[in-house]
C-alpha cells in the first residue's frame, strides 16, 4: 500500500499495491526500510533493462508461458469487454442482429441517457443523483462511525471483553446482501420492529419505509450500511491506535492530562494520517461499492425515484437487453469512478505520502 517516495511512484508500471493490514502497520512503523527496499527494487529493474530480449526469452520463456492463462483471463473478462464498449456504446444493439449488423446510431445512446427514459424525464439522472446521495452519506457518516467505534474500543482495558465485542461487531460484514435486504424489509415494514420503534419514540409515521419515495430511504439505507460495516471498518484504526507509542501517553499523564485530552491530543492526531488516507482512497471506490442492495430493493412502482442507482440502473438495462444503454451507463460510471480514484490517490500521495499506485 505504502509508497513512501513519490518520485519512484511515477516510474511506470512497477506496482506496489499492498493491501494487507500487517504490511500496512509494518510500513507505518518503518517507512525508511520501505523506501530502501523500493530503491533496491528499482536498481534491480534497471539491471534487467540491459539484458537483450533474446537472452531474456531464453531464460524466462517458462514464466511467460505460465502467465498465459492469466493473460487469457484478463483479456477475456477485462480487456475484451473494454474493447467492445466502444461499438456497443455507439450502436443501436439488437440481440437478433448481433454486434456487427446492428446499426450505428451516433450519440443517441448518450442522448437517451441524459434526456429520455422514465415518465418524468431521465431515469439515469435520477440514478446519478441517488448514487451521489448514498455515496456521499457513505463517505461521511459511513466513514466517521468506524473511527468513533475504534476510539471507544481502544479505551477498553479488558482484553477478553475487547476481543469478544470486536468479533461480534464485525460479524454483519460477512452477511450476504440478499440477507441484509431481507432483514431491512422485515424491520422496516409497516409494522416492522424498527418502524414501530421510531414510531413510538419519535412519532415517526408507521409506513413501509422501503416503499417510501422520500429521501428518508437514503437514511435507512445508510443506517444498514453502517450497521454492516462499522465493526470491520474499525479494525484498521484499532490496530493503528495500538501502535501509538505508550511513551506519549505516559508523558501526557505526567503533565496531568486526562483521558479525554489524551484522546484528542494523542490518539486522534496519531491516526489522522491513516484516517485521511483511507478517506481519500474511499473516494476512489465511492461510485462502485455498496450499491448491490439497491438492485434488490428497487421496485418500479414504489421507490424508484430514490432507490435507483447507477448500479441497479445498469443491471436492469443489461437484463432487459438494452446493452447499448447499459454500456453507456457503465462507461459513465467507470470513467467517473476512475477519475475519482486517480484524484483521491493523487491527493493522498501529495498530502500523506501514501498511495495505492
Amino acid at each position: 500500500m505504502v509508497k513512501t517516495s513519490p518520485g519512484a511512484a511515477d516510474t511506470a508500471a512497477e506496482e506496489e499495491l499492498i493491501l494487507s493490514g500487517s504490511e500496512e502497520s509494518a510500513a507505518l512503523a518503518a517507512p525508511v526500510s520501505d523506501a530502501a527496499a523500493e530503491k533496491e527494487n528499482m536498481a534491480r529493474i534497471k539491471k534487467i533493462g540491459h539484458v537483450p530480449w533474446k537472452k531474456d526469452f531464453k531464460t524466462n520463456w517458462v514464466i511467460y508461458c505460465l502467465f498465459l492463462p492469466v493473460l487469457v483471463w484478463l483479456i477475456l473478462f477485462h480487456y475484451l469487454p473494454i474493447g467492445f464498449s466502444i461499438p456497443l456504446a455507439f450502436k443501436d444493439y439488437k440481440d437478433h442482429l448481433g454486434i456487427f449488423n446492428s446499426p450505428w446510431n451516433g450519440w443517441e445512446n448518450f442522448k437517451y441517457l441524459f434526456t429520455g427514459g422514465g415518465v418524468g424525464g431521465s431515469e439515469f439522472l435520477l440514478a446519478l443523483r441517488n448514487t451521489f446521495a448514498i455515496g456521499g452519506l457513505n463517505l461521511t457518516i459511513g466513514f466517521i462511525v468506524p473511527v468513533l467505534f475504534a476510539l471507544l474500543v481502544s479505551q477498553l482495558r479488558f482484553k477478553k471483553y475487547k476481543r469478544v465485542c470486536q468479533m461480534l461487531s464485525y460479524l454483519p460484514n460477512f452477511v450476504a446482501s440478499v440477507v441484509i435486504v431481507q432483514i431491512m424489509q422485515n424491520l422496516l415494514d409497516r409494522d416492522g420492529a424498527l418502524t414501530m420503534m421510531f414510531h413510538n419514540l419519535f412519532g415517526a409515521p408507521n409506513t413501509n419505509w422501503l416503499a417510501d419515495d422520500t429521501p428518508a430511504f437514503w437514511g435507512w439505507y445508510i443506517l444498514f450500511s453502517v450497521w454492516q460495516g462499522f465493526g470491520y471498518g474499525s479494525i484498521t484504526y484499532v490496530s493503528a491506535i495500538s501502535n501509538i507509542s505508550e511513551d506519549l501517553y505516559e508523558a501526557a499523564a505526567i503533565d496531568g492530562a486526562n483521558r479525554w485530552q489524551m484522546m484528542w491530543k494523542i490518539t486522534l492526531p496519531g491516526i489522522m494520517p491513516l484516517i485521511l488516507m483511507l478517506w481519500l482512497l474511499q473516494i476512489g471506490v465511492v461510485f462502485k461499492v455498496g450499491f448491490d442492495r439497491t438492485f434488490l430493493l428497487y421496485n418500479a412502482s414504489t421507490n424508484a425515484d430514490v432507490c435507483d442507482t447507477l448500479f441497479s440502473y445498469t443491471m436492469r438495462m443489461t437484463l432487459n437487453g438494452n446493452l447499448g444503454i447499459a454500456t453507456v451507463s457503465s462507461l459513465f460510471q467507470s470513467v467517473v469512478g476512475t477519475v475519482l480514484m486517480l484524484f483521491g490517490n493523487w491527493i493522498s500521495r501529495k498530502s500523506a505520502g501514501v498511495s495505492m499506485f
Binding site: 492469466v70 477498553l156 460479524l171 454500456t327
Partner: protein, 323 residues
C-alpha cells in the same frame, strides 16, 4: 522517587521529557496513576457499556431472525417488535417447511453455491498463484504484465459489455459464467505478487541450483512459505462467492437449476410473503420459512468466520478500501 521524578519533569521541554522517559521507563511506571480516579472509573463503566451495546446492536438483527425462525408463524406475523425469544412457543415447523419447499429447492441452492464456491476458489487460486509468481520474477516483460493487472483495478468495463462478451463466448446459462467472472481480480494478483516477493531470493536460487523447475519452485518451495499471505485472498473470495448473487442473476437469469442459495432465498421470501396477502386460508408455517432460509444461508459463514479472525483482521485494510 515519585515526587522527585515529577518535580524534575516540570522544568523539561517535551522533547527532553520524552528522551528522559525513554531512558528511564521503569522510574516513570511507578509514578503512573492512570485512570484510578472516580471520574475515570465512571468513564470506564460508560465505555464498557457503550461498546457492549454497540456489539449487541451488531448482532440483534441476526438474533431477531434466528428467534423468528423458531417462532410460531401466526404469532410472529402479528408480532411487531424485535423477537428476543421465539414467539408463540419454540418450534421447528419453519425449517420443515423450508427443506420441503418446492421439492427441496433449497438443496439445489446449496449444491450450486458449493459448486460456485469450489470452482471460484480453485480457479481464482490458480490464477492468483500463477500471476503472483510471474509478476514477482525478474523478467523484461514484468512491467508490462503488472501494468495489465493494475489497469483492471483502475478501470473496468462494467456489467453491460461484460455480459455481452460472456454471452458471445457462449458461457451464459452455464456455471462457468459465474465462476470465471468472479474468481479473482487484479487486486488479488498483485497481493499474490507481493506474497511471492516475500520469499527470500536465496531459497529460490538454491532450489534452482538443485535443478528444480519453475513449477516445482512455485508450488512446492515458494507457495508453502508464503501461503499465509494468500490466505486473505482465499478468505475474501470464499465470502464473496458464498454471498454472490449478481453473477448468477445476470448470466443465468431465470434458470432456477443454476441459482445459488442467495437467489433461492429470494424465491423463498416472495413465496413466504404471499401468506400475508391470503389471510383466511393461510399456511402460517410458511411465513417464518423466510427466516429459516436466512439462517440456513448465513449459518455456515458465521460458524466458519471466527476461526479466521486473525486473517480477516489482517485483511481489513483491503476490505476497507475495497468497501
Amino acid at each position: 522517587m515519585k515526587e522527585s521524578t515529577s518535580q524534575q519533569q516540570v522544568q523539561l521541554s517535551p522533547e527532553e521529557k520524552l528522551a528522559y522517559l525513554r531512558a528511564h521507563p521503569r522510574k516513570i511506571k511507578s509514578g503512573m496513576v492512570r485512570g484510578k480516579s472516580v471520574g475515570s472509573v465512571i468513564a470506564d463503566i460508560i465505555i464498557v457499556l457503550l461498546v457492549g451495546a454497540l456489539a449487541l446492536v451488531a448482532i440483534i438483527p441476526m438474533w431477531h431472525v434466528l428467534m423468528s425462525s423458531f417462532s410460531d408463524g401466526r404469532s410472529i406475523f402479528y408480532y411487531s417488535g424485535i423477537a428476543f425469544v421465539p414467539e408463540g412457543g419454540f418450534t421447528f415447523r419453519a425449517y420443515e417447511e423450508l427443506f420441503s419447499f418446492e421439492d427441496g429447492l433449497i438443496w439445489t441452492g446449496y449444491m450450486n453455491t458449493i459448486l460456485y464456491v469450489i470452482g471460484t476458489l480453485a480457479v481464482g487460486l490458480v490464477l492468483n498463484v500463477l500471476a503472483g509468481y510471474c509478476l514477482s520474477r525478474k523478467t523484461k516483460l514484468g512491467g508490462v504484465m503488472s501494468a495489465l493487472c493494475v489497469f483492471t483495478v483502475i478501470f473496468s468495463a462494467g456489467q453491460g459489455p461484460t455480459f455481452y462478451v460472456v454471452d458471445m463466448l457462449g458461457l451464459t446459462q452455464t456455471r462457468f459464467a459465474v465462476i470465471l467472472t468472479e474468481c479473482t481480480m487484479g487486486m488479488y494478483m498483485i497481493i499474490g505478487a507481493m506474497a511471492f516477493r516475500s520469499v527470500p531470493e536465496e531459497t529460490v536460487e538454491s532450489a534452482k541450483l538443485e535443478g528444480a523447475g519453475h513449477l516445482r519452485i512455485m508450488f512446492s518451495i515458494m507457495l508453502p512459505q508464503c501461503f499465509s499471505l494468500f490466505m486473505v485472498t482465499v478468505l475474501f473470495t470464499f465470502v464473496a462467492a458464498w454471498n454472490s448473487f449478481i453473477g448468477a442473476r445476470l448470466y443465468n437469469a431465470g434458470i432456477t437449476d443454476l441459482y445459488p442459495l442467495q437467489l433461492i432465498l429470494q424465491r423463498i421470501k416472495e413465496s413466504s410473503d404471499r401468506v400475508a396477502s391470503q389471510i383466511g386460508n393461510a399456511n402460517w408455517a410458511r411465513y417464518p420459512m423466510q427466516f429459516a432460509g436466512v439462517i440456513a444461508a448465513t449459518l455456515p459463514i458465521m460458524v466458519i468466520m471466527p476461526f479466521f479472525q486473525k486473517q480477516l483482521e489482517s485483511g481489513a485494510l483491503g476490505g476497507a478500501v475495497k468497501g
